[in-house]
């Protein structure tokens, strides 16, 4: 029996437990029986005898769970095999970093959707996991449902990855592709994206390239390019004009926010992209191109965010740990 502890019970945490329950028979065929032994959010928790539907209902109705034990107390005191860590991203690692460290030291596997701990302490966490003979899995941190990390770590393991370029932020891609299609100014499309819930009330984390830079750091470290957040040259999309799209189109280009990593350069910036290129995407899609020495260029694209998209990536990590 695999015992799972869940920390972080917002959209992503709830999506994970809901999808895991919905796909229980399929997942159990692959990994064996499992049970969720505790769930914690930033203020409350539930452990012992409880059902997932009960926990979700409690959280929706009361905004909190049944007990007052903290996530850290549960990680230290409960017996479990895998920590599913879905706390909110803080670039300094935040509480998520402390939870992951604690679980790894205890000899538990970790599956996380939280970029912060990996941006702040990638090497340290991977070393800690290796020292304790456990896995730290983070497919959901980059590209949402798109299997970017597994592609790099597993399927391209024999290749020398010389460069990675990607569209890693769906909000920016939505804004830029709408500006291109409708000839509208940035501010107007941003306000439309806010109304649709695609952009946050404070969109700076997305539109200034901070989110894409954090993902680039994770991706670069995954393929052996040592990268820190402060090494990333970063420019946002707010100065792009409708005229820029028009003039770029005359030469067969569009403009997209591209995150690019090589041994020479780590950069997130608007770039001219050929309309025939796989990174010339529309809407909230994400895509990554790996340029390899041995196998040429390999591209993967898909939905970069969303409750069940992220959950599906986390469940694929769980399956990978137990079923390879």
């Amino acid at each position: 029996m695999i015992r799972i502890g869940v920390v972080g019970f917002g959209t992503v945490g709830q999506g994970f437990v809901e999808l895991l329950a919905a796909r229980k028979s399929v997942v159990e065929k692959l990994v064996g029986e499992f049970r969720i032994v505790f769930v914690a959010d930033s203020k409350s928790s539930i452990s012992g005898n409880f059902s997932i539907s009960e926990a979700i209902e409690m959280k929706r109705r009361n905004g909190r769970l049944r007990d007052d034990r903290t996530a850290m107390e549960l990680i230290r005191e409960e017996d479990f095999d895998v920590l599913v860590e879905c706390s909110v991203t803080k670039l300094d690692g935040g509480d998520g970093l402390r939870y992951i460290r604690e679980a790894l030291k205890k000899g538990c596997h970790v599956v996380t959707s939280n970029k912060g701990p990996l941006v702040a302490a990638y090497d340290e966490l991977m070393k800690l996991a290796s020292q304790h003979g456990v896995e730290l899995m983070y497919e959901a941190t980059v590209g949402g449902a798109t299997p970017v990390i597994r592609l790099a770590r597993k399927y391209l393991a024999a290749c020398t990855i010389e460069r990675i370029s990607g569209v890693l932020n769906g909000t920016c891609n939505y804004i830029l592709s709408r500006m291109e299609e409708e000839g509208l100014p940035y501010e107007r499309v941003l306000s439309e994206a806010r109304e649709l819930g695609i952009a946050e009330a404070d969109p700076s984390y997305d539109v200034e390239g901070i989110d894409a830079a954090a993902k680039l750091v994770i991706l670069a470290n995954t393929v052996g390019i040592r990268a820190r957040y402060e090494d990333v040259e970063r420019k946002g999309i707010s100065s792009i004009t409708p005229e820029a799209f028009r003039i770029a189109a005359e030469k067969g280009y569009t403009i997209r926010l591209i995150a690019e990593a090589s041994r020479k350069r780590l950069i997130v910036a608007p770039r001219l992209v050929r309309k025939s290129h796989p990174l010339s995407l529309r809407g909230t899609m994400n895509a990554v191109v790996f340029n390899t020495a041995e196998a040429g260029s390999i591209a993967v694209a898909g939905r970069g965010a969303g409750k069940y998209e992220t959950a599906s990536a986390m469940i694929s990590d769980l399956v990978d740990i137990y079923a390879g």
């Binding site: 792009i240 820029a244 770029a248 030469k251 280009y253 403009i255 001219l272 992209v273 990174l279």
Partner: protein
């Protein structure tokens, strides 16, 4: 060749390939009011030059957009010219949008 030189003709170069690399770069900002000809003059050199420019000025006082095509004798000289352009544009508060380095192959 020897005959030409024997007649006093100075042969400067033979079979020289003048252009081997080219890239288009987009500029956004107050491109005209910050002296576009100065911007171009500063990137032109023996090995690279601006060979095409397309400018759009939508409204007075609003940022303009220009697509510059730079051609060079080698990839290295092209990269140097683009670096120089970025330096000049940084001084002038103009945003430079570079192309992705290569096509998807």
């Amino acid at each position: 060749m020897e005959e030409l030189e024997g007649r006093g003709v100075i042969v400067r170069s033979v079979d020289e390939v003048r252009i081997l690399a080219a890239a288009s770069v987009l500029l956004i900002g107050h491109i005209i009011h910050t002296d576009l000809s100065d911007t171009i003059r500063r990137i032109d050199s023996d090995g690279a030059e601006c060979v095409e420019i397309r400018v759009s000025m939508p409204e007075v006082g609003k940022p303009s957009t220009a697509m510059l095509t730079i051609a060079a004798r080698s990839e290295e000289e092209l990269a140097e010219a683009i670096d120089k352009l970025k330096e000049v544009c940084s001084e002038k508060g103009i945003e430079v949008i570079e192309p992705l380095d290569e096509e998807f192959v």
